[in-house]
């Protein structure tokens, strides 16, 4: 488009009064703020952000809201186990085969999912971005080696790997996170690398090199802020991925047996009732997984427009 190439329609902002300056974090600060703004502008992105916020609150305050404990057995006043009760005032989402309150389980299960989602997404993006930055910036042998490694990791099927790994190193939240991080960094690093490859050739990078900037400075102060949109995009995908992965692993009975999670609720349902499970037992946790994953996807889709301006509606 002709008129997008030149910036002179935007010069009005020159006339805005300017206040004091922000410190050195400014490039990052501005980048991050821009990203959030753009996601908020997108309808689906906004829905995603609201949903995500809701689940974070649930994870934080779950224990204060949940009426029963996760593994607490509920008894009727006359001392009978409340097995497979359909929804009622006492148990809005019914009870399980073991007489546990589904609502409480769903609320309390949020925490592990959110922790796994965020921690592993953060680790994935930090690892993947740094590998991508180093590969793309230095090229040559380092790049070759790390990219071959990426290719190899691309050859490893995630879930089978996670199953085998967990069966070897033992069940637990950390095992799940390790399994996710060991595999998922590959796509982030590959995408970031290709972005860096083109960024490093941009004159503004050359300009600071001419001024004598060190490699570290060039990478982290000049290139990195420009790949943030991409890193954010992959972070949101990584959240979606990690949540789904956690659910799958827990569903296969490989989660931490002492910590409730949505996948685990479904695991017990499938274990005891198979496909004849009652709806109140399997619908709520499934819907929660779906909504959380979807919120991350929606945010990611809104980000994609930052990373790829062609997709932006004009």
């Amino acid at each position: 488009m002709v008129h997008l190439k030149c910036g002179y329609w935007k010069r009005d902002s020159l006339n805005k009064p300017r206040t004091g300056r922000m410190a050195h974090a400014q490039p990052y600060f501005k980048a991050i703020w821009d990203q959030i703004g753009i996601v908020w502008e997108d309808t689906l992105g906004r829905i995603g952000m609201i949903l995500l916020f809701f689940f974070i609150l649930l994870a934080l305050f779950g224990p204060f809201i949940a009426p029963y404990g996760a593994y607490e057995k509920c008894w009727t006043p006359d001392g009978k186990l409340e097995r497979m009760q359909s929804p009622s005032w006492r148990h809005p989402m019914g009870t399980t085969y073991y007489g546990r309150d589904v609502l409480s389980q769903v609320i309390l299960g949020t925490r592990q999912v959110v922790i796994v989602g965020f921690v592993s997404a953060l680790m994935v993006v930090v690892v993947g971005t740094n590998i991508g930055l180093v590969c793309g910036y230095y090229k040559g042998n380092v790049d070759n080696l790390l990219m071959r490694l990426t290719d190899i990791v691309y050859g490893i099927p995630f879930l089978p790997f996670a199953i085998v790994l967990i069966s070897i190193i033992g069940k637990g939240v950390s095992s799940i996170i390790i399994a996710i991080v060991l595999i998922l960094w590959r796509s982030t690093s590959r995408v970031i690398r290709s972005q860096v490859l083109s960024l490093r050739e941009r004159p503004f990078v050359l300009a600071v090199k001419v001024s004598g900037a060190s490699d570290f400075r060039v990478i982290y102060k000049h290139i990195a802020p420009n790949i943030l949109p991409m890193a954010f995009l992959y972070a949101s995908f990584a959240i979606a991925w990690a949540v789904a992965a956690e659910a799958s692993i827990s569903f296969l009975g490989l989660g931490d047996p002492n910590t409730i999670s949505w996948g685990q609720i479904l695991f017990y349902a499938f274990l005891t009732q198979g496909v004849t499970s009652p709806y109140w037992w399997i619908i709520p946790p499934g819907v929660c997984i779906m909504l959380l994953v979807m919120s991350a996807f929606f945010i990611g889709r809104a980000y994609e427009k930052v990373a790829n301006p062609q997709l932006r509606e004009r």
């Binding site: 689906l44 071959r148 290719d151 190899i152 691309y154 050859g155 490893i156 099927p157 995630f158 879930l159 089978p160 790997f161 199953i163 085998v164 790994l165 069966s167 070897i168 190193i169 033992g170 796509s187 979606a240 789904a244 659910a247 799958s248 569903f251 296969l252 009975g253 490989l254 996948g263 479904l266 499938f270 496909v275 004849t276 499970s277 709806y279 399997i282 499934g286 997984i289 779906m290 909504l291 994953v293 979807m294 996807f297 929606f298 889709r301 994609e304 790829n308 062609q310 997709l311 509606e313």
Partner: protein
Amino acid sequence: MRKFLITRILYMVLTLFVFITLCFFLFRMLPGDPTALVISPSLMPESQEVLRAQFGLDKPLHIQYYLYFKNLMKRDMGISFIYRAPVTKIIKGKILNTLILMGLGMTLCMIIGVLGGTVMAWRRGSKLDSGSIIFSLAFRSTPIFWSGMLILLLFGYKLDWFPVGRMHTPGYGAFNIWDQYFNIDFLKHLILPLSTLTLYYLAGPLLVMRNSMLEVLHADFVELAIAKGLHPLKVMYHHAARNALLPVITLTSLMVSYSVGGQVLLETIFSWPGMGKEIVDAVNSNDYPMAQGAFLFLGATVISMNFLADVLYCYLDPRIKYGEE
């Protein structure tokens, strides 16, 4: 082109090699006695001795590694504790079950994704477009085991339109491969898992095709094609879609890798007798030779599919075929 292929083949072999090595070390990280890997505690002491010698478990690590490779070349992956039969034999009986379900699912995804994505990009911003985005993303967000459960619950259990899980009606004995896969009974069992699989993975190719199509539609060569006075359909398919297809091909290899994971869950839910269900069962019953065999096999599938996608990409993109200068 030839140079590209040779390097790709070398890479594939390298990747396979590293993967197999990784597998060796992974399974030797097992807590406790490494013999647990190949020797079932329920075996007779004499046969335990035989196996110990065969796998050289009394020898140093590098010799074990050599033996591991040698046995692998001879297609000997040990004996399953549960089945009490060679792992290779069990895998052989289940390979096709997995590959057929997965292959059909991926093919369907690709075809629907590419055609649908093109239409969505064409009608960008329409109800059809945004509806398809939300629909496909919703399915992509639904865990495949959960949607599988719901589908089974609804169409199998409640409505009783389709059988509830498995690949054949119990008691069905197939005489040959033809008989196993080309009959109504199999088809009936296939429909539910196949649609679950397709719906789950559809979002990938669909959205990538749509986005890449939108990008290509702004390309200068598309503008020139319009200026040439070509029919819109020709512009759309001969120029735009043909170029937009390339990123989708790249996606295929990723999708195969993901879908192997999905296969594990799907086969568990639908009691589909394939490798995915096998690896879960094996892990749950500490049948390590079986788990290792299944893991090796699934990894090899992913690696070879990645290779095939690379070759296809090379075939479709002349810039690689005829060497970028």
